[in-house]
């Protein structure tokens, strides 16, 4: 079944996909380590947020961050993004009228929003351990900064990866995505990295 990206459903689908794949279990049997994906806000994200389904998915992901951790947004560029969209850290995100907000975003000048929220990102943390995806969650600013690997790039580039339009190696090799961490470890486990990205790209995305 096709799911919206980004959304909690997509995260759940990815979790199920990885943990039910026998080949992944085999190739990643020795893998120990977590990833922090830093998905940077860009013009394409703002364009996609004009689609109420995608906006809803994004807001639900933010809403999945426990209340006590949302304090970490305060004073960061990510809070700047919420403010630019007319939201706030303390509000009940689930009560937002998504259709109205999507319309409002469509009327906004993307340059103004991007200027106000320069460097804002949606951070996704994934914890892999011996062939299993143990956990996948949206991270608050500053959380899991010590992850074994950090993958950083614009929303539009991550979207290409998720939709299977480009593979991770191509995006990293061409410098579109930046990968930080123990590169020797990663190169020794390229089969696991490649299998995971293939599984991620195999999830049908609702357009």
């Amino acid at each position: 079944m096709a799911v919206v990206y980004p959304s909690k459903e997509w995260m759940e689908e990815l979790y199920k996909k990885v943990n039910s794949d026998e080949e992944y279990k085999k190739v990643a049997a020795n893998w120990e380590g977590d990833y922090l994906c830093v998905v940077e806000l860009d013009e394409e994200a703002l364009k996609d947020f004009q689609n109420p389904k995608i906006l809803k998915g994004f807001l639900e992901m933010l809403d999945s961050i426990p209340k006590e951790k949302r304090e970490r947004f305060k004073g960061t560029v990510n809070e700047g993004l919420l403010i630019a969209l007319g939201l706030s850290v303390d509000m009940d995100i689930s009560s937002v009228n998504v259709d109205e907000l999507a319309k409002k975003i469509a009327e906004m000048d993307p340059k103004v929003v991007l200027d106000a929220a320069k460097g804002a990102s949606l951070n996704l943390w994934m914890d892999f351990w011996h062939g299993e995806l143990r956990n996948i969650e949206v991270a608050a600013p500053g959380e899991h900064e010590d992850a074994k690997f950090k993958l950083i790039g614009p929303y539009s580039v991550f979207k290409q990866l998720v939709m299977g339009k480009a593979d991770a190696i191509t995006l990293v090799v061409s410098g579109k995505l930046k990968l930080q961490g123990d590169m020797g470890y990663m190169m020794r486990n390229m089969a696991a990295v490649r299998k995971f990205t293939e599984l991620m790209a195999s999830i049908p995305i609702e357009s």
Binding site: V173, S174, M187, R188, R194
Partner: protein
């Protein structure tokens, strides 16, 4: 059909492919290579040159697509089949085989590591080309840097500093990259190429291996080509300089961006080309051996064919032994390397094993060619027999695509540092990056 016992169990498809490629090597490549060898460098690149006839025929047969994965427009060949094609091409002509090899480098690399946009713009027209409209070359060697380009990743930082600046510099400018500088006269196929897979050093690079790899259409403003050079051997593959004066390419034409992965890419690309060169060398060695064997069976001296002379028997056996050991080692290294880079796409082939395939087979080709000339006696020195040309080609092999000395030194570093490791270790790259980042 090339007649020799193959120790691998070949399928009917393998046998048919081998026969088809051998026919192309014998009937198209070989006669054209002899003709080209005797032409002036200028005549070799004229539109009516036999070079282009071979190239057009090769494109029609689709051999340019052999290293592409099937999902990227490849022919769905096995690593063994790719090896067999390369050996037969090397048998036909080392120069033309090299031309067919370097044609693939910019485009196959773009297919493996480039963006979808670049694939559609540049790779698809090249895949579909059956008239020889597109021709790639590989821009590595520079006036101040030859084989040291290959060892830069494994050198000590202090020595690396002494390597100086690259002669081709690339710089980001908005959505484009700007290229300036010169590649030296030894770029195979440069005088006839339409595109170059170019290695360039980034402006203000911290160290010599701090570079990028890009696809450069050679009809862009600012590109100039030097005159084709007159060489000892491999004369059937024109070589010449490339000059870049503020040449601008779009961002997506830079396939490998500066950084850690440029190091991995350079290492792994050399694994692929090492297997290709190894297979060419086996083909060339086999061609020399077969010429010598046939000559020795017919040439009568002392009342008997010289093949009955014990010293000739011994030489022929030793040549056979060298070729057979080279073939099966290069095949094994090719199977491993292609599995890692083309099929599984994990870019973790073993540099020391791939280099050994190239170095060992190149040395074998030269030794076999040398002995073959000796069997021919004075006739081996005359242009009446092809062995004279094959010997000159074999001599060139010890230098082209990296001298055997530099390749051996680079492989030695990998052996010494990583022999016990059963995986591709990138510490040599991370160490350099850490050192120069400080």
């Amino acid at each position: 059909m090339p007649k020799f016992l193959d120790l691998d169990e070949l399928t009917e498809e393998d046998k048919m492919l081998k026969e088809e490629v051998h026919r192309f090597a014998a009937e198209v490549m070989r006669p054209a290579s002899v003709e080209l060898d005797r032409m002036s460098p200028e005549d070799r690149i004229k539109p009516d040159s036999p070079y282009f006839k071979v190239f057009k025929q090769m494109k029609k047969l689709g051999y340019h697509k052999i290293n592409l994965p099937e999902e990227k427009g490849g022919l769905g060949l096995t690593p063994l089949q790719r090896y067999m094609i390369f050996e037969e091409l090397g048998w036909g002509s080392l120069g033309l085989a090299t031309a067919i090899g370097v044609d693939q480098i910019p485009f196959a690399t773009a297919a493996l590591f480039g963006s979808e946009k670049l694939y559609e713009e540049a790779v698809i027209p090249w895949i579909e080309d059956d008239k020889g409209k597109y021709h790639g070359c590989w821009g590595v060697t520079e006036p101040e840097h030859g084989s040291d380009y290959l060892i830069a990743l494994r050198e000590e930082p202090d020595l690396l500093r002494k390597f100086g600046k690259g002669n081709v510099i690339i710089e980001k400018d908005g959505d484009e990259w700007v290229i300036n500088g010169q590649k030296s006269a030894w770029v195979s196929s440069a005088p006839v190429a339409t595109h170059c897979g170019l290695h360039a050093q980034i402006k203000d690079a911290k160290f010599f291996a701090d570079g990028a790899f890009c696809l450069v259409p050679l009809d862009l403003d600012g590109v100039k080509k030097g005159k084709p050079v007159d060489m000892l051997g491999m004369r059937d593959d024109p070589q010449g300089e490339l000059f870049f004066d503020n040449v601008r390419i779009p961002d997506h034409y830079t396939i490998v961006a500066p950084g850690f992965f440029y190091g991995v890419f350079a290492d792994q690309l050399l694994c692929l080309t090492s297997c290709g060169m190894g297979a060419f060398a086996v083909g060339l060695a086999r061609a020399c051996f077969e010429e010598a064997l046939n000559y020795a069976r017919q040439r009568v001296q002392g009342g008997v064919p010289i093949v009955k002379h014990k010293n000739i028997k011994l030489k022929l056996y030793e040549m056979f032994e060298k070729i057979e050991t080279a073939r099966y080692y290069v095949r094994k290294a090719t199977e491993y390397t292609h599995r890692k880079v083309i099929e599984q796409k994990t870019t973790d082939a073993s540099p020391r094993h791939a280099r050994a395939a190239q170095i060992y087979a190149k040395k074998v080709a030269f030794e076999v060619a040398h002995e073959a000339v000796q069997i021919f006696g004075a006739y081996g020195l005359s242009k009446e027999f092809i062995i004279e040309k094959l010997f000159r080609d074999a001599r060139c092999m010890l230098i082209e695509d990296g001298t055997v000395e530099v390749l051996s030194l680079e492989a030695a570093d990998d052996v010494i540092s990583n022999y016990e490791k059963d995986y591709y270790d990138v510490e040599h790259i991370t160490k350099l990056m850490d050192h120069f980042e400080r």
